[in-house]
Symmetry: D2
Subunit: 261 residues, 4 copies
């Protein structure tokens, strides 16, 4: 989930909670917040805390368990552990940790140790290992092999969730993904595709993928501005504000009509 | 067009010429060679020369003009001019020049001067200004404004061709692109979409986009290995070899069946 | 000033305060903390707060004003302002702000606005504009021109302090630097050089530079490990620990004997 | 050795040959050309050829063997081999090969194979393995271990030459370097230091280092412009021209007087 900001860059906590409830009602199995897409790198730790509390509160009475996963990546290992512990204390069901790219590239041992220390510092808390070499310049695979070879749970206990805006969702499903964890503004589509795939209704899964692929592609445009504008158009957040140092969009231009055909 | 290499990294000139003729027969309006996709950065200047000659020869008797555009980007401005002059002498119809990213980022004046010097060094030769900030970290727009403000032809005389693997083709067509210049392994699909768009048959153009988008997405995978394997499967080149320092693919695995549905 | 960590990566607050007092006694005019050299990117906001309080307390009774400058650079502009306000409230005499390199490179307007917003958010607080294009890929000069042209104090009111480990100190002094702001582990040498330069005793200034240049060069080695080990050898901090993801040094090897001749 | 260009960016072959003879007369044991410092990335292959011929010819009658080492790094492995073979045919005594940084970072196996292929393609030709992780983001050490473990000559047969502008020369000598291979504009100083070090006259070696360190530091300024201007001041090359896309210097300003004290 993206983080909605007002024009003065303060957090739009109401919009954020509304979005959380929307996801729960759309049939999602959970939500991930304060990740890369959530522009966590431009937040203070206090703002992270505010968002975690808000997310956990928003779905507390949604009638079913709705786990909140919190991004806690940080250039410092001790800081990653501290942010993960804060998330766990505030009710997060999991944390998502990306290899730091400073200094680039971290060695396999450093990565393996980072994950081991988060696991040790947060007993019982599931960890999502985010693998995104295009941005982190780190390949997780060798570090993972080291982790599996030591004390961590075996690889067979792992859930594989795919990201990249679900651009490759059709192929991901064929390869056996367990689900999607990505920031697409129409989570009900991902939910429907994944439900079909888990029931092995491949024709339906592929038909959905084919049908909505232009929309998935449209959201692939760099930055988070398009995604935020779609959230705004859906009535979830107040404003599609993106920090001035990031690419924005000209919202005075209508979105392509073909998207809504 | 990608550059086909044999397993010993020598140029597969036959496959390259076969691909050129294939494109001419597929109804393309021309071909671009020795660009970024063509792995020009791993070639010697002699290999560049061999490929330009081979391309020009291959389409010489195809019964209609089939312009060859040659990528001549180089870290040195004088070298860019020299490579462009070589291309012009060997029969290229245009050159394509990308801003160098060394040292990053080049100033607007440096970029404008680079293009002016290529134009001066190659009288009468059209220049394709390749804008790809994701890889070059340079925004062409301010340099272009400086160029238009001086002696170059006015912007209205420019042709806009879109790239990025035609991933956004549906939206590009709506915005008025004049065509596609990108490395998709099924150029007849791009040709058909563009023909429909130029005739303003939007329904057909969008239907084609929607129909073939999974294929366009599949080719978006990083590197040139997937594209080369598709060329090989189409019988155009011998081998999908990609230099060992680049990501390859495991061709012992079948391609997703859904691609060929 | 570097930030001393214990082997378990907790802050060595005692060593940090001891170092602050050492600098005051060595005749420095002030100290800068929580900057790039201070590994601020690996700290939580709470740790930043702890260090600012510790520094201000440590020099409160040193018998003369000893200003503490605090690094508050952050990828988010609002976060930069928030961290700067925290520093001001805790007694910082100035803040140091570096252009963010995410996304690279920020435009001149974005940079100018960032500094303007920090100035607006922290009335009366001097701002150090850190210019280090090698790491930030941003050139401050055009942004500065925009700032001087608007409401900020004129350039003539600025103090120029040079950094880069004082490697170029001899040339900086000749060019009229007002002093040094850098992390060299022997601040008394910088202090002596600067005192000589301010009195225009060029022969003494250059003799000091020439005498201690091997030491300045030795500290230029990448990373902060060498500097921390020198602080430890001087009895200021407990341990030269550097996070595992950063290059460390083999302290079982003696330092070159020639350094201490 | 830097590559001298005239103001129109053509090669100053006369200046280049004069510089080669100057180095031979200064007592150097050889010269390295067309490397990173030589701006080889902005040259066409024909210009590389011209420079190799010119260097070999210039020192042919200098009365003693004066080996020319040629930089042949290239993003393509086959191209690296081809450039190395060209160098060998033209009389080069060795080639210098740097790990490519595209795509970053190359794996250890890729690096090891690259060196093995150059060795195989150029029988009998010594290879200089240039290790400069700051620019290549590749650590050579693991690749080297793989090479030593296989068919290459044992590590004990290697010569270690240090670079980085000889900034750390004093420490390099203490650690047992066999010599310097770097672009300092006063090679006679490096020659004198190294001669002292090889005779274990440490006091003299260190005195020379200390004496000339300000000059070594001055040349550390980014880019090659300062170095070229010093060559020009020494009467070796016509013009300190540096391509416009690279940082230049304002040569209307005098160099610091203290440098020539």
């Amino acid at each position: 989930m993206a983080t909605p900001f007002r024009a003065d860059e303060s957090l739009d906590v109401d919009g954020f909670q509304k979005s959380m409830r929307f996801m729960a009602e759309a049939g999602c199995d959970g939500a991930t917040i304060v990740g890369v897409l959530g522009e966590s790198n431009r937040m203070t730790d206090r703002e992270r805390e505010t968002l975690i509390r808000a997310a956990v509160d928003a779905v507390a009475d949604c009638g079913r368990p709705f786990p909140i996963c919190v991004g806690t990546s940080h250039a410092g290992t001790a800081a990653t552990v501290a942010l993960s512990q804060m998330a766990q204390e505030l009710g997060a069901a999991a944390v998502m940790v990306t290899p730091t790219k400073e200094p680039a590239p971290a060695s396999d041992d450093t990565l393996a140790e980072m994950y081991a220390r988060v696991a040790e510092g947060c007993p019982g808390l599931p960890i999502v290992l985010q693998d995104h070499p295009a941005s982190t310049q780190a390949r997780l695979e060798p570090a993972l092999r080291k982790l599996w070879a030591s004390e961590l749970p075996p690889a067979s206990d792992c859930t594989i969730l795919t990201g990249l805006g679900a651009l490759y969702a059709g192929f991901d499903m064929e390869q056996g993904t367990d689900g999607f964890m990505t920031g697409f503004a129409f989570p009900e589509i991902l939910q429907a595709m994944n439900a079909a795939a888990q029931r092995k209704e491949w024709e339906r899964a592929h038909a959905l993928y084919q049908r909505y692929l232009p929309l998935l592609v449209f959201e692939q445009q760099p930055g988070v501005a398009v995604r935020k504008e779609l959230y705004r158009l859906r009535g979830l957040i107040e404003c599609a504000h993106v920090e001035r140092s990031l690419p924005g969009i000209d919202v005075s231009q209508p979105l392509p009509a073909s998207l809504f055909a």
